[in-house]
C-alpha cells in the first residue's frame, strides 16, 4: 500500500500527519520545545496540536534538517504546517468573529486601518482643540487622550482575554501557577525557542545556515515594545499618583524607558522586515505573508513616528506628528486581537502550558 498523498482535510489534519512522522523520527528533539512536548503526547488531539503549533517559533531548524522535506513523498514542512494551525487558531478563536480574519490576511486592510486612525486623530484634534496646555497637551488635552485611548486599549485586551480563555481550555491548559508564568517569561524574554537549541539561532534568512539575526531582531522588538509600554505606564502613574503631568524632560523615567525602547522597537521591526524579505515564504503561513509584513510595518511606524514626535518637540510639526503617531497607536491597539500581534499572547500561554520545559 503506497503512502497516502491525498491532501489533508484541514490544517490540523495536515499537522497531525506530519507530527506522526516526526514522532517516529525524533531527530530534531534538541532544536526547541515542540519536539520534547510531542514525544510526551499520548494522543494527538486537536487541542494538543494547537498547543504544539503555538510553541513553534518558526525557527525552521527542523525543516532544513529534515530528511523528508519535499519532494520526498512524506513532504514534511513542519514550520509551515504549524504556522497554518496557529493562524487558524488566531482566526477561529478571535472575538468577535466578523473582524477575525481580514487584518491577518491583508496588509492593505492594515494600511486602511492606519489611515482611518490618522483621520480619527486629526478630526479629534480639530474638534477638541484645548484652550491651554503644555507640550502636546496644547494640541490634544490629557482628558481627550484618555477618553480615546482608555477604551481603545482596554477593549482589545478584553477581546484577547475572551479568545485566549477558550483556547486555553481547548489545549487543556489547567490551573496557572506562578512557576508557569516565570518559566514562560524566562523563555520568551531570552527568545529561547529562537536560538536553535544551542545558541546557533534560526535557519531563516540564510537557508540551511544558522543565524541569530532573527532572534536578536525579535528580542529588540519585544523589549523595545515592553519599554515603550512601561514608559506609558510610568507616565500614567506619575500623572495621577504624583500629580506630575507631561511634558517630561529626558532624565525622567518615561523618557529613559521610552526613547531607548522606541529606538529598539524601530531597529527590531526594521530588521524583522528585512529578514522576512529574505526568508522563504513557503516555510510559514504563506497566505498571510502580507498581513504579517503589514503588522511589522505598522509597529515600525508606531515607533518611528513616536521618535519623530519627540525629536520635533517645540516645533510647528508637533500637531501633525502627534496626530500621525497617535493615529498609528490607535490602529495598532484596536488591531491587537485581529493581527499578528495576538501571537504574543498565544505563545506566552503555550509556554505556560508546557510544564515540562526547562
Amino acid at each position: 500500500m503506497p503512502y497516502d498523498t491525498t491532501p489533508a482535510a484541514s490544517a490540523t489534519d495536515e499537522a497531525r500527519r506530519q507530527l506522526e512522522i516526526c514522532n517516529a523520527c525524533r531527530y530534531c528533539e534538541g532544536y526547541c520545545d515542540v519536539f520534547p512536548a510531542l514525544t510526551r503526547l499520548t494522543e494527538m488531539e486537536p487541542g494538543a496540536i494547537s498547543h504544539l503549533a503555538s510553541l513553534c517559533h518558526n525557527c525552521r531548524g527542523c525543516y532544513y534538517a529534515c530528511q523528508y522535506s519535499p519532494p520526498h513523498e512524506f513532504a514534511l514542512n513542519l514550520p509551515a504546517a504549524l504556522a497554518e494551525v496557529r493562524q487558524q487558531d488566531w482566526e477561529d478563536y478571535a472575538w468577535p468573529q466578523p473582524v477575525a480574519r481580514l487584518f491577518h490576511r491583508s496588509g492593505l486592510a492594515l494600511a486602511a486601518a492606519l489611515v482611518a486612525g490618522f483621520a480619527a486623530l486629526f478630526a479629534a484634534i480639530a474638534a477638541l482643540r484645548p484652550e491651554s496646555g503644555e507640550g502636546f497637551y496644547a494640541t490634544l488635552s490629557h482628558n481627550a487622550m484618555v477618553a480615546i485611548f482608555a477604551p481603545a486599549f482596554v477593549l482589545p485586551l478584553v477581546a484577547v482575554a475572551i479568545s485566549l480563555r477558550a483556547w486555553w481550555r481547548a489545549i487543556g491548559g489547567g490551573r496557572v501557577a506562578l512557576a508557569d508564568i516565570t518559566r514562560a517569561a524566562r523563555a520568551a524574554g531570552r527568545g529561547r525557542n529562537l536560538d536553535g537549541g544551542q545558541g546557533q539561532g534560526c535557519n531563516f534568512e540564510r537557508g540551511d545556515r544558522f543565524s541569530n539575526a532573527r532572534r536578536h531582531a525579535h528580542l529588540a522588538t519585544l523589549w523595545g515594545f515592553l519599554m515603550c509600554f512601561a514608559a506609558t505606564s510610568v507616565a500614567t502613574l506619575m500623572h495621577y499618583g504624583l500629580n506630575w503631568p507631561a511634558p517630561y524632560g529626558f532624565w525622567t523615567p518615561p523618557k529613559l524607558l521610552g526613547v531607548p525602547g522606541g529606538i529598539l522597537l524601530c531597529l527590531g521591526t526594521g530588521a524583522l522586515m528585512a529578514l522576512k524579505l529574505r526568508a522563504d515564504p513557503a516555510l510559514g503561513a504563506a497566505r498571510v505573508w502580507g498581513g504579517e509584513m503589514g503588522f511589522v510595518a505598522l509597529l515600525f511606524f508606531v515607533s518611528a513616528s513616536g521618535l519623530a514626535l519627540y525629536a520635533a518637540t517645540g516645533t510647528a510639526a508637533v500637531p501633525a506628528l502627534l496626530a500621525i503617531h497617535l493615529g498609528a497607536v490607535l490602529a495598532f491597539f484596536l488591531l491587537i486581537p485581529y493581527s499578528k500581534m495576538v501571537h504574543g499572547f498565544y505563545r506566552f500561554a503555550a509556554l505556560m502550558a508546557d510544564r515540562r520545559a526547562p
Binding site: M1, P2, Y3, E20, I21, N23, A24, C25, R26, Y27, C28, E29, G30, Y31, P36, T39, T42, G61, C62, Y64, A65, C66, Q67, Y68, S69, P71, H72, E73, F74, G197, Q198, Q200, D208, R209
Partner: protein, 460 residues
C-alpha cells in the same frame, strides 16, 4: 576555479559524510578540490542524510557522551555483531581515531545533542547529531563551500580512468572529463541498484525496500572492480532489517522501522508463525528479522498485537490496521481469517501465567509451541487487534574496495598510487557482517579524513 576541465588537485567522488570529510581535509591542506555529487542538491548526502549518530570511543565524558567507552569494549561490541568478520587493524584504527574525530566534527560545524528519548541505552556510546544526518551534511557542505571546495550536483561519475596503476581522470555520465592529481572514492554501496541486488541475492530481492538514498547504485564500485581493484566483503549480502511494508521503495529512512515484534505474533503470508518473536533484545533482534522476512513467501510477514501492547514500542509512521476481531483484522491484512485465528488461538493456548516485563528478557515463554516464543509471551486476546505489514528493508551492501590503513585502494598489483576510498564503498573491510549502530559514520569520518589528507599530500 569552477572550470571542470582545470586540473584539480583532488577530485572527490560522492557527496555524503565520507566524501565531505575528505573534501574538507584536502581543502584545509591547501588543495584545490572538486566534489562530485551524483544527486541533485536537495537529495545530496547519500545515506548520511538518514543517519542519526556517531559511535565514539572516549575516556571520560566527551561532548554529549557520558562515562567512558574504551577501545576494547568498542572492539568487543564490533566482534559480537560481525562474528569476527572484520579487519582488526582497520577496525581498531577507526575506533581509536573516533575520539579525536568528534571534536573535529564539532569544529567543522556538526552539533550534537543528548541521546534521543527512547534511545537512552546509547547515551554512553553514540553521540547524536542535532537534527540528524541531514543537518550534519548541511553543516559540512557549508564548511566545504567556505573553504573554497567546488561542489557539483547532478554530477554522476560513470568511469574512473585508471592507467598503469594510477588514476588519470573521471568521466561523468554527461561525457565531461574531470582531471585531477588524486581521487577519493566515497560513493557508497550498490543497494539502490535492484537488478544488481537481485543478481547477488536472488530474485526475492526485487521485493526488498531500500531504506536509504536511490543514488547509491554502485557504478564506481563496479567500475573499479572491473579494472582490477581488490574487493572485500560478501558480494551476495546486504544488511536488511524488518520495516513497515508500506514504506516507500527508497528513502523511507528511520521512521519506517517497527519495534513491535517482541510484543506480537508474527505470521507469514499463509498465516503461519515461523520464528521466535521473543528471541532477543534490540538491536540484535532488529537485525535478524529482515533476513527472516526475506526468506518467507513473497518476502512479507505480518505482526499482530492486541490493545495491551499499544504504547510499549516507539510510535510508527503509519497507523496499524485495526479491528475488533482477529478474523476482521486478517481480512484487512489480506490473510486467511480462519488460519490467522487458528494460529493465534494455538499461541494463546501455549501462553503461561507469569510476570511480564517489556524492557527486559522476562522469560515469559510459551509451552509446547513450535516455534516457541521465549520472552514476552502474553495471550493476544484484548481487542482491538492491530496488524503491521513487515518487509525487508536494505540498509547497505557489504561488497567494497580493499584499502590500506591509509585508505589507499589496492589492486592485484599493489596499491593504486593516487586513489583513496572512504565510507560505505570500503566499509566491508571492517563490517563484514551485521551492523553496529553509528559505526558507519565512524568509518566514514575516520577514513574520509585520512583519504582527504593523503590525497592532498600526494597532489601538493
Amino acid at each position: 576555479m569552477t572550470d571542470g576541465n582545470a586540473p584539480w588537485d583532488v577530485a572527490i567522488v560522492g557527496g555524503g559524510n565520507a566524501a565531505l570529510c575528505a573534501a574538507i581535509e584536502a581543502a584545509e591542506a591547501g588543495a584545490r578540490v572538486i566534489l562530485l555529487e551524483a544527486a541533485p542538491e536537495h537529495m545530496r548526502g547519500g545515506n548520511s542524510r538518514h543517519t542519526r549518530n556517531f559511535r565514539c570511543m572516549h575516556h571520560g565524558p566527551l561532548s554529549v557522551l557520558t562515562d567512558t567507552y574504551a577501545e576494547d569494549e568498542y572492539y568487543d561490541d564490533l566482534l559480537r555483531v560481525t562474528g569476527g568478520k572484520t579487519d582488526p587493524e582497520l577496525a581498531r584504527l577507526a575506533i581509536r581515531e573516533s575520539e579525536a574525530a568528534l571534536p573535529w566534527m564539532e569544529r567543522h560545524g556538526v552539533r550534537f545533542q543528548p541521546s534521543l528519548s527512547g534511545t537512552l541505552s546509547l547515551g554512553r556510546t553514540n553521540a547524536f547529531f542535532l537534527g540528524g544526518g541531514k543537518a550534519l551534511v548541511n553543516a559540512y557542505y557549508a564548511t566545504a563551500t567556505d573553504l573554497g571546495v567546488t561542489i557539483r550536483y547532478n554530477a554522476k561519475v560513470a568511469h574512473v580512468h585508471v592507467e598503469s596503476g594510477a588514476f588519470r581522470w573521471l568521466e561523468l555520465e554527461s561525457g565531461e572529463r574531470i582531471t585531477a592529481r588524486a581521487v577519493v572514492l566515497a560513493s557508497g554501496g550498490f543497494q539502490a541498484d535492484i537488478d544488481w541486488l537481485a543478481r547477488a541475492w536472488g530474485p526475492a530481492a526485487r521485493n526488498f525496500l531500500i531504506r536509504g538514498t536511490p543514488w547509491n547504485r554502485g557504478e564506481v564500485l563496479r567500475d573499479m572492480l572491473d579494472q582490477g581493484a581488490e574487493s572485500v566483503g560478501d558480494p551476495t549480502q546486504c544488511h536488511a532489517v524488518a520495516i513497515d511494508g508500506r514504506a516507500p521503495k527508497f528513502d523511507g529512512g528511520i521512521v519506517t522501522r517497527l519495534d513491535c515484534v517482541p510484543f506480537s505474533v508474527v505470521v507469514n503470508r499463509d498465516g503461519a508463525r515461523f520464528h521466535d518473536e521473543g528471541e532477543d533484545v534490540w538491536p540484535k533482534r532488529y537485525a535478524i528479522w529482515g533476513r527472516l522476512v526475506a526468506a518467507q513467501p513473497d518476502q512479507v510477514a505480518f505482526a499482530v498485537i492486541d490493545a495491551k501492547a499499544r504504547g510499549l514500542f516507539m510510535p510508527t509512521v503509519f497507523p496499524p490496521e485495526s479491528a475488533d476481531t482477529l478474523e476482521e483484522l486478517a481480512g484487512k491484512l489480506g490473510l486467511d481469517p480462519a488460519q490467522l485465528a487458528a494460529t493465534v488461538d494455538a499461541y494463546n493456548a501455549a501462553c503461561r501465567p507469569g510476570a511480564f516485563h517489556p524492557t527486559e528478557l522476562d522469560g515469559l515463554a510459551t509451552e509446547g509451541l513450535e516455534p516457541p516464543k521465549t520472552n514476552w509471551a502474553r495471550p493476544i486476546d484484548t481487542p482491538p487487534f492491530h496488524g503491521y505489514t513487515l518487509r525487508p528493508g536494505v540498509t547497505f551492501t557489504y561488497l567494497g574496495l580493499r584499502v590500506s590503513a591509509r585508505a589507499q585502494v589496492q589492486s592485484g598489483h599493489g596499491p593504486l598510487s593516487n586513489v583513496w576510498a572512504a565510507g560505505e564503498i570500503m566499509a566491508g573491510s571492517i563490517l563484514g557482517q551485521g551492523y553496529l549502530a553509528g559505526f558507519g559514520m565512524t568509518i566514514g569520518t575516520v577514513f574520509g579524513r585520512i583519504a582527504g589528507q593523503e590525497a592532498a599530500a600526494h597532489a601538493l
